[in-house]
């Protein structure tokens, strides 16, 4: 018997028991649909998160105080002088720009309206390093930085909250922690990110922040952002920065009192997390596919029992074990293949709906049904059909013709 014939016979046999076949297929449809949808959600989440990390800027290194991996006896804070030292062309030739920052959570008030936001104390280079732009006014200037000016750039979210508009705000005065600041610019919207909205932010000169908001004295900074010249120099830049900081902080060997993350580190960490999430979601969905497979096995066993006489007859007419095996395996594979194909459609639909819901609730998140997921689901569901069909088919193939013919 050739394959086309086997498929035709399998289809006829499945069609003769439509309700039963449909219900069996439904199990696989739900399983495959769930796998496709979950993988799509996982991949979509991954894309969104890595996308938003990349959106922070390009070729960035993040230098923090402290060390999370080893115990260090003495931790020196990062200072403005550290940041300045990183610009040394000879010790750190691959460093392009440096932006030290201080962070604080503050309350901003305008005419009785108040909002909580995060304040970043920045230097003029921050705009380039983080790809920030203003929609009106100008970014913090060198003069403002040097002069401890009480000026502020406000993010679009803050503008919305306090003023209900995003233009014509330059010259207004807001109060931050009770102190008056003059608005000199409105930041361009960068959209939401996994780390909270990048638009819910106010920026003031670093010097002003140190003097009037954090009041930590001297020139301590919370983080130094380093912009590296070329993408392929990230490792080299990391080594150069580390070397400079080690000598400046006089650290013992192996006891760095700072931590350097590259953007790539964040991306790979995020990828690991979303990868685990995807596997988890896919695994849960896979269980339902497994249950669908057991459904196939169940129905095939019933079918074999019902058709014992037919099997006996076929054997009497010269069917070999292989012929019977193929006949029943074809049936179970057809069930799972149909289930798989419909399931892919269902999964795609679910992913689409999830994307729509996410979009409607303001989260920029697009589930992605990848070709690999479709292939995986197709192969996996057919494999499920084969695997769970194998036992019933084998049982049919090994029936003794004499016994089978006598079966009532």
């Amino acid at each position: 018997m050739n394959l086309a014939q086997a498929i035709r016979e399998a289809l006829e046999s499945l069609a003769s028991n439509k309700m039963r076949s449909i219900l069996t297929i439904l199990g696989i449809v739900i399983g495959v649909g769930a796998v496709i949808a979950m993988l799509a959600v996982g991949v979509g989440a991954q894309d969104t998160i890595t996308g938003s990390i990349s959106g922070i800027g390009s070729n960035l290194l993040f230098v923090f105080r402290g060390n999370q991996t080893t115990e260090v006896s003495r931790i020196e804070p990062l200072t403005l002088a550290d940041a300045q030292a990183l610009l040394d062309q000879f010790q750190a030739p691959s460093v392009n720009k440096v932006a030290p920052v201080v962070n604080a959570d503050v309350k901003v008030i305008y005419a009785g309206e108040s909002t909580s936001t995060s304040l970043v104390g920045v230097t003029p280079s921050y705009a380039d390093v983080r790809n920030y732009a203003v929609t009106e006014g100008e970014f913090i200037t060198q003069e403002q930085y040097l002069g401890n000016a009480s000026v502020v750039l406000i993010g679009p979210d803050v503008a919305d909250k306090l003023f209900n508009r995003r233009d014509g705000l330059v010259g207004e005065t807001v109060r931050i922690q009770g102190q008056p600041f003059r608005i000199t610019g409105v930041l361009e919207s960068k959209g939401g990110s996994t780390f909270g909205s990048q638009d819910n932010v106010v920026m003031i000169p670093l010097s002003t922040a140190q003097a009037r908001i954090t009041r930590r004295g001297s020139d301590r900074v919370d983080m130094i952002l380093v912009n590296v010249l070329e993408a392929n120099q990230m490792q080299q830049a990391t080594d150069e920065v580390a070397q400079i900081l080690r000598s400046r902080h006089r650290t013992k060997i192996g006891e760095d009192d700072f931590t350097i993350f590259s953007q790539q580190d964040f991306v790979s960490t995020a990828k690991t997390i979303t990868g685990v999430l995807t596997i988890f979601l896919g695994g849960v969905a896979g269980i339902s596919l497994l249950v669908g497979g057991i459904g196939i096995m169940n129905i095939m066993l019933v079918s074999v029992t019902e058709r014992t006489r037919e099997i006996g007859l076929r054997k009497a007419l010269g069917a070999r074990k292989k012929d019977i095996l193929i006949q029943f395996l074809t049936e179970s594979s057809m069930l799972s293949l149909f289930g798989g194909v419909i399931g892919i459609g269902l999964g795609w639909l679910i992913a689409f709906v999830v994307g729509r819901i996410a979009a409607a609730s303001g989260t920029p998140f697009t589930p992605k049904v990848g070709i690999d997921a479709v292939l995986l689901a197709t192969i996996f569901s057919t494999a499920v059909g084969l695997f769970f069909g194998l036992y019933p088919a084998n049982r049919a193939a090994n029936l003794e013709p004499v016994e089978a013919l006598r079966y009532e």
Binding site: M1, S13, L313, R314, A316, L317, G318, A319, L405
Partner: protein, 227 residues
């Protein structure tokens, strides 16, 4: 020298049921010539079904030799037996055993599918076989649309389509009214006369047995009478 299509020598079939050994066949030896018509009779439990299963290569003897059309079949494995059944044995069953969802033509085609005959030749040969049993105009009918006698005719056509060495009929008239039964017997005997097909009929109907030249009577797993 006579042309033996079947030679059995001390054929035994012993079933073990728990502690008990049941000798379904206890040493049976006989020959059947090509073109002969033989009835196998005996009361229930005499071993005639067991003998039919062995002669039809559906089962293997516990001991003894069986030569079918010159081939030793008592020691073949399952798939080799399937092949022998396909090429050398045609079956007609008491309950017809047609595939209910397939047309008469598809039912008759079935043995040729397992023989690997290509589609064109299958349809041609199956149509010829259905013509030969007088159902040339019913090829596209399903078994449920045919009378009992017609269904058994389809079964006969199916049994003959691979030109087997022997045709085993197990109570071929058992499920039919007397008129259709008579017609089926006439058909089988006519096919024997025309094509020289060796015909072995297992029955306990004396009327059927009386139409054959030779009758083998079994009792308690042994040949009681062979004439």
């Amino acid at each position: 020298m006579p042309d033996h299509v079947i030679v059995t020598n001390d054929l035994k079939k012993i079933y073990t049921m728990g502690q008990m050994e049941v000798h379904a066949l206890d040493g049976v030896s006989f020959e059947i010539n090509r073109g002969e018509v033989v009835a196998i009779m005996g009361p229930s439990g005499s071993g005639k079904s067991t003998l039919m299963n062995l002669l039809g290569c559906l089962d293997r003897p516990t001991s003894g030799n069986y030569l079918l059309d010159g081939e030793e079949v008592h020691s073949l494995d399952d798939d080799e037996l399937a092949d022998i059944r396909n090429r050398k044995v045609g079956f007609v069953f008491q309950s017809f055993n047609l595939l209910p969802r397939a047309t008469a033509l598809a039912n008759v085609e079935l043995p040729m599918r397992y023989a690997g005959v290509d589609k064109k030749e299958r349809i041609q040969r199956a149509s010829a076989a259905l013509d030969a049993v007088g159902l040339g105009d019913r090829m596209d009918h399903k078994p449920t649309e045919l009378s009992g006698g017609q269904q058994q005719r389809v079964a006969v056509a199916r049994a003959l389509v691979n030109n087997p060495a022997i045709l085993m009929a197990d109570e071929p008239t058992g499920n039919l009214d007397s008129k259709s039964g008579k017609e089926i017997m006439e058909l089988l005997l006519e096919l024997n006369r025309k094509n020289g097909t060796t015909l072995i009929i297992v029955t306990h109907d004396q009327n059927v047995a009386s139409q054959t030249r030779r009758t083998i009577r079994l009792r308690d797993g042994l040949i009681e009478e062979d004439k």
